[in-house]
């Protein structure tokens, strides 16, 4: 009996830390792929590699909050950084190197969905997405000529499409009302 109790204690000593580790791992992974990476990491890496300075939009937090309220949670966590007159290495950027730089700093959880690149380096578009519960995170890095923009947002596709459909319905309703009023005149 005593031996059974000892065995049970020994097992609990192994299983309890294992259980805690199993519960904590997703939380740790989620934190590691959070705001420390993604947008901030990508913007910082571009700034340091190309010696450029990003212009952050003032009151972005407020704008993001308003967007969240206006779309009833359809869009949230908006981040925008703009590099004006971005010259890269003087004559654009090397597409492969630019892609590797973003890939390295975007962090875990992000999957590249689209890459569009031109050999001369004037056009680079990278779109990454990641699952964020009911939301989907989207990170867009777009270089067009000398304008480089980095945008990150979190969207709820169901809510967003619900809002779009509602707006579309209102618009259709209003235009048919106008048409009816015009005909009666």
């Amino acid at each position: 009996m005593r031996r059974t109790e000892k065995n049970a204690t020994a097992w609990s000593m192994v299983l309890v830390p294992l259980g805690i580790a199993a519960i904590m791992t997703p939380a740790i992974m989620l934190a590691a792929s959070g705001s420390g990476q993604g947008f901030d990491s990508v913007v910082n890496s571009i700034e340091s590699r190309y010696h450029a300075h990003a212009t952050k939009i003032p009151f972005m937090g407020l704008i993001s909050g308003i967007a969240g309220i206006a779309t009833h949670g359809g869009v949230r966590g908006l981040h925008v950084a703009e590099f004006e007159d971005f010259r890269g290495d003087g004559d654009g950027v090397d597409g492969a190197e630019f892609n590797a730089l973003i890939e390295k700093h975007v962090g875990g959880g992000w999957q590249r969905m689209v890459r569009e690149t031109s050999r001369k380096g004037g056009e680079q578009s990278l779109i990454y997405v990641r699952a964020e519960g009911s939301h989907v995170g989207m990170l867009v890095v777009d270089l067009d000529g000398h304008d480089l923009n980095v945008v990150q947002m979190s969207m709820n596709p169901d809510q967003l499409m619900h809002e779009v459909a509602k707006h579309h319905h209102h618009e259709t309703h209003d235009s048919s009302d106008d048409q009816a009023a015009g005909e009666s005149e």
Binding site: M113, P157, H168
Partner: protein, 191 residues
């Protein structure tokens, strides 16, 4: 007690084996080294890689179109059930910027037992043409690969999952899938 352990092990092994086999069947292929060399030569490259989760996410944005006709809805339904879409489009500033050997290398992956050639169209004297391979499982199309080689453009489209050939052209223009390549594939497959 021992019987439970044995059954647990069998179940665990079954889950792992199932997951590995599912990954092997539905996973998008790793880019071939040929694609890298083509990308280096091309003036413009478009790469689109969508797995099942991304397709599910993308299809949600199509749900808002309530006024869409029946055909649109059928295409959306097909997209929702797809397991992966892989598109590579290379544009070149000069004609014949790729070789017949490179096209052969790209086709090689699909010359396995799972895939059957459906269309094999060639232009005499140049490395141009269209190839369509299909993956048939129990008589149902579960995959499609289109290699469309034009004078200054090379397109690779790989679609994994259940495909309705009649709705194929509806996929063109979505997710970077070239419209012309899909129309051509549907036309050739319908012959």
């Amino acid at each position: 007690m021992k019987r439970i352990e044995v059954w647990t092990s069998v179940l665990a092994l079954g889950i792992v084996a199932g997951a590995v086999s599912a990954l092997g069947q539905d996973a998008l292929p790793a880019p071939s080294p040929i694609e890298k060399t083509l990308a280096e030569r091309a003036t413009h490259v478009t790469e689109v890689t969508l797995d099942k989760n991304m397709l599910a996410f993308a299809s949600k944005f199509m749900d808002g179109d309530k006024d869409g006709d029946k055909e649109d809805k059928a295409v959306k339904e097909m997209i929702r059930n797809l397991k992966g879409v892989y598109v590579r489009e290379y544009e070149f500033d000069k004609e014949n910027s790729y070789t017949g050997a490179e096209l052969e290398g790209l086709r090689k992956y699909f010359e396995s037992s799972d895939w059957s050639p459906m269309v094999h169209e060639r232009t005499k004297g140049v490395a141009q043409g269209t190839d369509v391979f299909v993956k048939l499982v129990n008589g149902q199309m579960q995959g499609l690969f289109v290699l469309d080689a034009e004078a200054r453009e090379l397109s690779l489209v790989l679609i994994l999952g259940p495909i309705d050939i009649d709705k194929l052209s509806g996929l063109g223009g979505n997710f970077g899938i070239p419209k012309d390549a899909m129309k051509k594939a549907q036309k050739e497959a319908g012959k």
